[in-house]
Symmetry: C2
Subunit: 443 residues, 2 copies
């Protein structure tokens, strides 16, 4: 026992109260909004059967998985996302009314090398919101509108939600009479635009052996600007009315229209025909919200339609669309924009223990304030008041209360505001009100 060093596995974290209060604040606000949009909470177990987890991407996902040392190691593993568990749950519950709208906020585990990828952890909380069982892109528009409400209500207002459609991206290859593999290579190159710029994408296309005809089309798409409707027009010009592109553009128009109908500020969303969203399993509309000019924070949320995936587990056709909200990144953005509630504690006041004999007064005073809905701590051991004040200070508790023999006999209490050092002695009856006025939380 004596040789065991207390330590954490690299890539995992403790959340101490100060961080946890902030994280919980954000999650509580988000939950209210998800529910306002008709999404309902779901939770699934941490451990799933290995074959189910690996089913989605096959070999690709094996590298990401933490298997349990159970029956040879390829029987059970920790989930690495919330999409496979959703697909498994939907397949097991054919009685669920469709569309099934769920949100899920739970940790996932990735067998990554955390030091290699800055800001990536081996355990992190994922927050997914999905609508399963409808092909209507109004469901996509609802999720994009909900993301807008989430970010605005958290105070992150200077973001832009870029919207595109995989059908448009796939149309580039088919328009150029190229195959699927080349189409993927083009999307992979375009996906790097935010990091390497238009020239970087052109360079990668050249290095991949594409000719000028390809580079010209891709460059044209990346450089499209103007209003959303102008962009759509120019895109269709470039792709010369390709049928898939036309269908993708029409879906984008429906989404843009629905966002306007919802009253979303048009400064916060735009059609970006070059948005690619990595090499994920998307099949239709895709979107990504980020802070312009803050590439180090990365995207705050992203998502899109993935009609092929859920149905594979249920062996029937189940279209789906959804988003993953990057809690760690939103927290970082909120921290940077100074949007998180101040204070290291949620405790409003510490009731001091005047002396060993006055424990009854301390207990009674704390009970009175707690019944009034205040968050109250008591000191347990007889100690100099200075020591008790210092404890309040270390914890960031804004108010301390002392009820000595004089106060007790007069039915009063002395209240000290830690920030200013100001003291006042008030009747017991108005103690709760006095504390409430001195604490931010009570406002």
């Amino acid at each position: 026992m004596s040789e065991i060093k207390p330590r954490l596995f690299k890539g995992t974290r403790d959340f101490l109260p100060e961080m946890m209060i902030r994280k919980q604040y954000m999650i509580d606000r988000l939950r209210v909004i998800f529910e306002r949009y008709g999404f309902e909470p779901v939770e699934t177990p941490a451990m799933e059967f290995y074959e189910i987890l690996v089913g989605k991407y096959g070999g690709e996902s094996e590298k990401l998985i933490y298997p349990l040392a159970y029956k040879g190691g390829k029987t059970l593993a920790l989930r690495y996302d919330l999409t496979v568990p959703l697909a498994r749950l939907v397949a097991m519950h054919p009685e669920l009314p469709m569309p099934f709208k769920r949100y899920q906020i739970q940790p996932v585990w990735r067998a990554d090398s955390p030091q290699l990828r800055q800001g990536r952890f081996r355990e992190f909380v994922q927050c997914d919101v999905d609508t399963v069982g409808t092909a209507s892109v109004l469901a996509d528009a609802e999720i994009i509108g909900m993301i807008d409400t989430c970010l605005v209500e958290l105070g992150v207002e200077r973001f832009v939600n870029r919207i595109n459609n995989r059908k448009i991206l796939y149309a580039i290859a088919s328009h150029l009479s190229l195959g699927e593999e080349e189409g993927t290579a083009i999307i992979r190159a375009m996906d790097k635009r935010d990091k390497v710029g238009v020239e970087g994408v052109q360079k990668e296309l050249g290095e991949s052996g594409f000719d000028d005809r390809v580079t010209d089309v891709v460059t044209g798409i990346m450089e499209i600007d103007g209003s959303d409707s102008e962009r759509i027009g120019r895109l269709l010009d470039i792709l010369e009315g390709d049928e898939a592109a036309r269908e993708g553009a029409k879906e984008v128009e429906t989404i843009l229209g629905a966002l306007a109908d919802q009253g979303v500020d048009e400064a916060r969303y735009e059609f970006d025909p070059a948005l690619a969203r990595g090499l994920d399993y998307y099949t239709g509309p895709i979107f990504e919200a980020a802070l312009p000019g803050q590439p180090h924070i990365g995207s705050l949320c992203g998502g899109g339609r993935y009609d092929g995936l859920i149905g594979r587990y249920a062996k029937r056709d189940i279209p789906a669309t959804g988003t993953t909200i990057g809690l760690d990144r939103i927290l970082a953005a909120m921290e940077q924009l100074n949007l998180l509630p101040g204070g290291r504690t949620k405790v409003d006041a510490l009731v001091c223990l005047f002396d060993e004999a006055s424990a009854d007064v301390t207990q009674g005073t704390a009970a009175l304030l707690r019944k009034a809905g205040l968050n109250v701590d008591t000191y347990f051991e007889p100690a100099k008041l200075k020591k008790q004040f210092s404890y309040a200070d270390k914890r960031g508790i804004p108010v301390v209360i002392v009820v000595g023999p004089d106060e007790t006999s007069e039915g009063k209490a002395t209240v000290k505001e830690m920030k200013t050092g100001e003291q006042q002695t008030v009747p017991r009856e108005s103690l709760a009100e006095t504390v409430r006025k001195l604490t931010t939380r009570g406002e």
Copy 2:
């Protein structure tokens, strides 16, 4: 892929919306109370180093642990409780102000045979509240008082919180001049009293080879009744003023006094000198809340002081006391007492899609109601209203809203209450208010 059967590992569960809404309701209410008592949230990673997890009880705990298939299997494992992670966290953070008061609500994993122990799962959420760093039993009294508030505020009022002290139990053996091993055997036998009765305990003591002198003392303690102060008097009579028993009884008196000072109803707590709380690591006051006459539900919460454990990880003396709240059992008790919020959904209303051309009206109406704070769902695909109403019915949504061309031209909406089938057409301006009146949540 096609051969993979969607299924869950036995002993793990999905929480579908209906159950999840209830669980979340309970957790949200508890969190508010924990914070009112000055406890602050903490979270720790699911995976800890194997040697740290096994450190506490040694070999005993190995059977409970799920190791990861990582570097041979004895490197990392899933936590099986929240106490070892607390001890590890405190050891790693000597800067934390003491006492450190934390609550933690996270899943734990037990490599049990779930079918062997009714109602036990391999993954379940544990809810721990602990005060670390004070030897004062006022901290124990605070936790017992908090448990009382939790259960009362959740509506579970007919429980009794039994209180004892391990010092009293250990005094039985020392009073009878028996060794530690025999003391443990006596506690083990007494622990079964609720299941096998006084006679069952006597039988076990006889079978373990104890003589009548032991059985008489133990029986005397188990049969003590009267008021709490009478019980304490009789206990000290039986143990003939044993010093450890006297100390334990004095601590119990302090706790009972503090509970009275806090205003806790004395019908809901009592001193029970035979309460044993298993063979856990307790060193001082122990307590356990249960519904009298409902042994099938088991104890709702239990806990006590464990001064030896936390310090072992930090290599310094760190007294601690705390409780584990049985969320599954409280949920079962609330279900049985009909205390859980009704309804399968938190959605207040479904805005129907009158026809394909009226998506703009649906989107706008939903946005209006959501801005008013209502939880609103929209229908995405053009379908007969009957089908849309049936969807609302299946999800348990209490209100449906239809805005057809007539309503649109008049600036109105038709509202139908699903339960009664009653319909009314109201101006757009009073739509939110009408829906709010028809839904329980809006009250």
